[in-house]
């Protein structure tokens, strides 16, 4: 089976999962108490007006018909209209998803570039001081609430740094997007300025969200490095007198990356969830805050649309991991489905 067929097959396997996600969110939004229309119109809506809006959004029909219609529209790429923002849900998602992906991407980059050296050094110098330090860092990292890290970072680098000269200062809120129009940003004249400003703004949220990734990746990297270093072929290489450094670089490192990739795929959804908290702390308008707004305002279609989007990211992430796996490890064939 070729790569293309395999990809298509995996995508098709994702369909039942997507359907399940739609079904669960539909049932959950269906059971939410309260009435979105009355939230929309204020405390005492006119009956006529309420009925019109209900009809306009299709809320006056029975459940199964609405679910059927929702699925039908979904197949045509229509996620419905947001009751709260009064724009199509897709518009809102197109606006917000890149922001969250930027944040999550940055945290993954941070996590990977810190975790790989930490994990490798830790495995190489097992039970030495370096290893202990890196293990403690990883342990504290996986145990710290990301939003608390965010609060502490804001206190130190945004507030306290104003009074302390040697502390670098970082902005706490008002994320500048790297693709924003330079004309709309104060004091920025070129794309380069905007990107520099954006990086400055991303620093604290990335640290906040990325610490957990760093810690989790370090643990995986360390244990998979240790496992590989224990393998027969590494022992053989050692017996042949191959230098430890060469073993590490040429033989062990490459093979130790597979578990890390698997974990990365699975952590994607976790970090999307974590982004809800980070976005709240740093007041970033991404998917996380969108879904909180949607839930608080009983915005049915927005809740379903955003949850579905998270599901899509998960399914795509798992497939990308599978493909990467096959790319990195030639022994993995495209034959096995799961």
């Amino acid at each position: 089976m070729g790569r293309a067929t395999y990809t298509i097959r995996r995508l098709l396997q994702g369909i039942p999962v997507m359907f399940g996600v739609v079904l669960i969110t539909f049932l959950l939004t269906e059971s939410m108490p309260g009435d979105p229309v009355s939230i929309m119109l204020g405390p005492s809506p006119g009956l006529q007006q309420a009925a019109e809006i209900r009809a306009q959004y299709g809320l006056d029909q029975p459940v199964h018909i609405r679910f059927g219609k929702y699925i039908w529209n979904l197949l045509q790429g229509d996620l419905g209209r947001s009751l709260y923002y009064e724009v199509p849900v897709t518009t809102k998602i197109v606006e917000r998803l890149p922001v969250t992906m930027l944040l999550v991407g940055a945290s993954f980059v941070f996590g990977t570039i810190t975790a790989i050296p930490l994990g490798v050094v830790s495995a190489k110098r097992r039970n030495k001081p370096v290893d202990h330090v890196s293990r403690v860092v990883a342990l504290v990292g996986v145990s710290t609430p990301s939003f608390w890290i965010g609060l502490i970072l804001i206190i130190v680098f945004a507030f306290h740094a104003q009074d302390v000269a040697w502390l670098p200062k970082f902005p706490a809120t008002g994320l500048v997007l790297p693709w924003a129009d330079p004309a709309t940003i104060d004091g920025a004249s070129s794309r380069y300025d905007v990107i520099a400003r954006s990086l400055e703004h991303l620093a604290l949220p990335t640290l906040s969200l990325g610490t957990l990734r760093m810690a989790a990746f370090t643990r995986i990297e360390r244990s998979s490095m240790l496992e590989v270093l224990n393998q027969e072929y590494v022992k053989l290489a050692r017996a042949y007198g191959v230098r430890e450094r060469t073993i590490l670089r040429k033989h062990a490192f490459h093979n130790a990356q597979l578990p890390l990739i698997t974990i990365m795929g699975l952590q994607l959804t976790a970090s999307l969830g974590g982004a809800v908290l980070t976005e709240t702390v740093f007041e970033i308008n991404g998917m996380g805050r969108l879904i909180i707004t949607a839930v608080n305002n009983q915005d049915y279609y927005l809740v379903m649309g955003t949850t579905l989007m998270f599901g899509v990211v998960f399914v795509v992430g798992v497939i990308v991991v599978d493909l990467l796996y096959a790319y990195i490890d030639p022994r993995v064939s495209y034959e096995g489905g799961d």
Binding site: G20, V140, S143, T144, T269, G273, I291, T307, G311
Partner: protein, 334 residues
Amino acid sequence: MSTTIEEDAQESDVEDATAGEPEARVGLRYTLSQLKRDPTAKVGGYIIAFFAVIATVAFIDTNVLAWVGHKYWFAETFWVNPVRDPATTQILRPPLSLTNDLHPGAPGDWNHVLGTDHRGRDILVRLFYGTRIAMMVGIVATGIGTVMGVVVGAVAGYYGGWVDDALMRAVEVLYAIPFLVLVIAFMVAFGRNLLFAMIGVGIRTIPVFARLIRSEVLSVREEDYVEAARASGVTNRKLIQRHVIPNSFAPVLVQATLQIGINILVIAGLSFLGFGAQPPTASWGQMLSVSRGYMLPAPWFSVWPGLAILLAVIGFNLLGDGLRDALDPRIQNR
């Protein structure tokens, strides 16, 4: 003929039960001795014991003592100087709010070791009462997830075929929705309180245990003694109950310990977003949420609840790691 088979079945059943038990008991004892020797597990155990004691006292204080009329003995006795009427020595302030209006939002001093919050409430006392919620919710939610996950995973793994497919697809759906998002939607649908927070978090934890137990079951299912038991006519249900689940117990215990830590983090996050315990009930996440408004004038208010969460989660992680080392001989020397 039929009687001999039945006798055989009974015999082997009895044999199996007696043969399995002493070994399991030795295993448990061995595990405990290993655990005692493991310094990380010990530290984790002590941390959890510390929080457990605080949680228990706070639970008795707010539930039992409050019920018999001694309201908030814990807070009054140890951590706050309540304002008393000089004549009657009666406490003037309602102990519930633990108020000391002399120092609203003050950093730590000898009366309030960790300082007071924006309403002048002692932060340490609130942390203690928050411990109760964190421990209870973390453990109950994990318990719900573990029991349901083990059942789902065992059934899926044991029966295989379409049952397995259907259950595992359902579990994958739960996995596909981010933790916080699913629990928030669940809570908005059913109730914005701690009960549904626990149930929601528990449901979202099902996939972890279902997958774990399923893979264990798949390997246990092939063992000779299970096959022998099946051949001698033991029913599927009995097999799962008597052999398959007990044999998959070790990894579940490890995962459950680690999961309590994760669930404490998630519930703190939920409370931070306003979906957990509602004020005035003190919970760590909700304290952090309130502290967001006072980060500039009262930074200590943000520091302590986070440290409490961190310490509790570290405790469960250390114990979980120690358990894993003790229960899994393959990675003993790591």
